[in-house]
């Protein structure tokens, strides 16, 4: 270690000559920043960066988009983050539903959706709640706010996901995980420590150039030793205990459920749904929605991309039928998606 300590993080990366390592950045923001900063250029050939399933839009199942379209066709006003509007469902997207006369409004926070509901009492407003532990507290807050105001026209369509069981499902896809700083700012570090005890290695990473390079240097230096480890390289923001009040809010409003991840299938206990006492704000119940199952475009390899099993450019649709302007798969729609980042930053040219 004394030798390691003399080098800068960038030097540790560029001079690494140990065993080959697969490092999976779980978080979509990490994927984007790694491309934006050209960080792959600092890595030796035996270190492979894999873009994992950490973009909430990318892992949202096709059936969820179909459900949202069904709601738009049955009188609901859909409020959603902009990224979801162009994500393809089985036959169309919310953009095509809007063009056909459906009401689809882009909002920037769940509380904006509540404000919209307040100002449009004659509309039945549904907020599309996607995302991980980072964004769930805001959706829960919106529900509590709507209830406190006595709004009768606001509900959630949930497809929220949680990371713990996803890591377990992905454990064979990588040697070291770059854990998402935002998620663990909420949930704390205990899960990461438990995973290390089970043989899954990881480093918690921040989002600036310095934080990312430092986290990768730690991943490489510790990964070379071959023993399971966990290091919090983002202690400025992530505390061991996380944000207990946010976790308490999630647990008050939502409960774990099995969840379908695009590309990964159903992972037991990896989703969140509204608790029974919140049935009056659960859009599936409010609108008595039938069971809807989606079908992805069979040529799209988003699923393998999300598992790190193939590169975006290995997909036959990449850059041909599927571009950010005309996306077939969700990974090409979202700015944080691996295919989108790969395409926009020149992919293999990097």
């Amino acid at each position: 270690m004394s030798d390691v300590q003399k080098k800068t993080p960038a030097e540790i990366l560029s001079s690494y000559d140990g065993r080959s390592l697969r490092i999976m950045e779980v978080c979509g923001t990490h994927t984007h920043e790694i491309f934006r900063l050209g960080i792959r250029k600092l890595l030796p050939p035996q270190v492979d960066l894999i873009s994992g399933p950490g973009c909430p839009v990318c892992v949202t199942q096709v059936g969820f988009i179909d459900e949202a379209i069904w709601l738009a066709e049955h009188g609901a006003t859909i409020t959603t983050f902009g990224d979801l509007v162009r994500v393809p469902g089985t036959t169309g997207s919310l953009a095509t539903a809007r063009a056909a006369g459906g009401r689809v409004r882009v909002v920037y926070s769940p509380l904006d959706a509540v404000a919209y509901a307040r100002e449009h009492a004659d509309e039945r407003v549904v907020f599309l709640s996607v995302g991980f532990e980072t964004t769930v507290p805001a959706a829960c807050l919106a529900v509590e706010q709507a209830k406190a105001e006595g709004l009768q026209n606001f509900s959630l369509l949930t497809a929220n996901k949680t990371m713990p069981n996803a890591y377990a499902a992905l454990r064979d896809s990588a040697d070291v995980f770059l854990y998402p700083g935002h998620v663990h700012a909420i949930t704390g570090t205990k899960l990461c420590e438990d995973l290390a005890a089970q043989g899954v290695s990881g480093v918690l990473a921040g989002f600036t150039a310095k934080e990312l390079i430092t986290a990768l240097a730690v991943a490489v230096a510790k990964g070379a030793e071959g023993k399971p480890f966990f290091v919090n390289a983002y202690p400025r923001v992530v505390k061991p205990e996380g944000a207990p009040s946010a976790v308490a809010l999630i647990n008050k409003v939502m409960e774990p459920c099995d969840a379908e991840w695009r590309g990964l299938g159903v992972i037991e206990g990896s989703g969140l749904r509204l608790r029974g006492e919140y049935a009056d704000v659960d859009a599936r119940r409010v609108f008595q929605m039938p069971s809807i199952e989606g079908r992805a475009n069979p040529a799209c390899r988003c699923g393998e991309v999300l598992r790190g099993a193939c590169k975006p450019s290995d997909c036959p649709l990449f850059g041909r039928g599927c571009t950010p302007q005309h996306a077939v798969g969700a990974c090409m729609v979202s700015g944080e998606g691996a295919c989108s980042a790969y395409y926009q930053y020149g992919g293999d040219l990097q």
Partner: protein, 338 residues
């Protein structure tokens, strides 16, 4: 209550009769007064010497009033700058208005004031105009189209296909302010920041450069799509690579802060008073010096170079010393920005 005193534009004011004449008299004629602007059907003008440049543009910005300007100022700057980019001194402008029924006359007068002030500053004459009124909801506020004619300075012929390896790339000031201003004025994000549009007429800056040299390869105004889109267009047209130094691209700290919060790239935010200039490396420092002496380009800087490698691509030297491709433009960030 008569139309004249109602304070709002009415459909009758667009019908071509007496009330139209009153609207034109009250709002436009006295502000745009010149011997060339008559009540006849067309302006009769002396032709420019040498080559003539001509351009037209429509302006439908929402909101019509923003920090640093309004749709009126924008409508003069936009067309004047298009002419200036061809090395042409702006001579004549025409303007067409489509105004929504019910639009406050006082605001229309403010817009006309801005147009007159900006045109006078540039030395361009408004020689003809048209006014139509559309029913409520058929347009949003005021839409303006301006068409301009300019006199090309002899021996000057900048074009997007003329960038050559070895050229320096200059921007005439900090980037992205107009796009950022409009973004904040729409208040979708609930962010407040002290940002003012860069909307400005740039003929004086171009003239200052042409006084230094006529050997300028490309001049483009970086409007919709921003500097990044312009550079990709030039890289494609000239079949060259563009290399930018990300650490020297001038960005106002407030604009940079907003971009970081929203995950936006300042290189893709619209400008309305910034040029991208490409010229041989040896004249670039003198051009920058000349630009910095002009009020709307004091922040001019060399931000990169034209290279042989990777034709068609824009490569960024990043803050950590790596190189990365600037993501290709993916279309409009916001509708109705200019």
């Amino acid at each position: 209550m008569s139309d004249k005193n109602s304070g709002h534009v009415t459909l009758a004011m667009g019908a071509g009769g007496k009330q139209t004449a009153e609207l034109i008299e009250r709002v436009f004629a006295r502000r745009f007064d010149s011997p060339l602007l008559t009540a006849d059907d067309a302006a009769v003008l002396d032709p420019p010497h040498g080559k003539m440049a001509m351009s037209t543009d429509g302006f439908i910005v929402s909101p019509a009033f923003f920090a640093g300007g309004n749709v009126g100022k924008l409508s003069i700057c936009g067309t004047v700058n298009d002419l200036a980019c061809m090395g042409a001194r702006p001579l004549y402008l025409t303007c067409g208005f489509v105004i929504e029924e019910g639009y406050p006359l006082q605001k229309l007068e403010q817009i006309a004031d801005s147009m007159a002030t900006t045109a006078a500053e540039v030395g361009v004459t408004l020689v003809a105009g048209d006014t139509k009124v559309a029913g409520r909801g058929q347009v949003d506020g005021v839409f303006i189209t301006t068409t301009g004619v300019g006199e090309v300075v002899e021996g000057v012929s900048p074009a997007g296909a003329k960038a050559a390896p070895g050229d320096a790339i200059i921007v005439t000031g900090d980037i992205g302010r107009h796009g950022c201003t409009i973004l904040l004025e729409r208040d979708d994000f609930g962010i407040e920041a002290d940002v003012t549009s860069d909307c400005a007429p740039l003929w004086a800056s171009v003239k200052a450069m042409l006084d230094v040299t006529h050997d300028i390869h490309v001049i483009r105004d970086a409007t919709r799509g921003g500097v990044g889109t312009v550079l990709y267009e030039i890289a494609g047209q000239s079949n060259v690579g563009v290399r930018l130094d990300a650490t020297v691209v001038p960005v106002d700290p407030a604009v940079g802060g907003v971009c970081r919060m929203l995950g936006l790239e300042p290189l893709y935010l619209a400008c309305e008073g910034r040029l991208v200039v490409i010229a041989p490396r040896d004249v670039a420092p003198a051009l920058v010096e000349a630009l910095q002496a002009c009020p709307y380009s004091v922040g001019a800087a060399i931000i990169g170079e034209v290279v042989d490698e990777r034709p068609g691509w824009v490569v960024l030297n990043t803050e950590i010393g790596t190189q990365t491709l600037l993501p290709q433009p993916t279309g409009e960030l916001l509708p109705r920005i200019c």
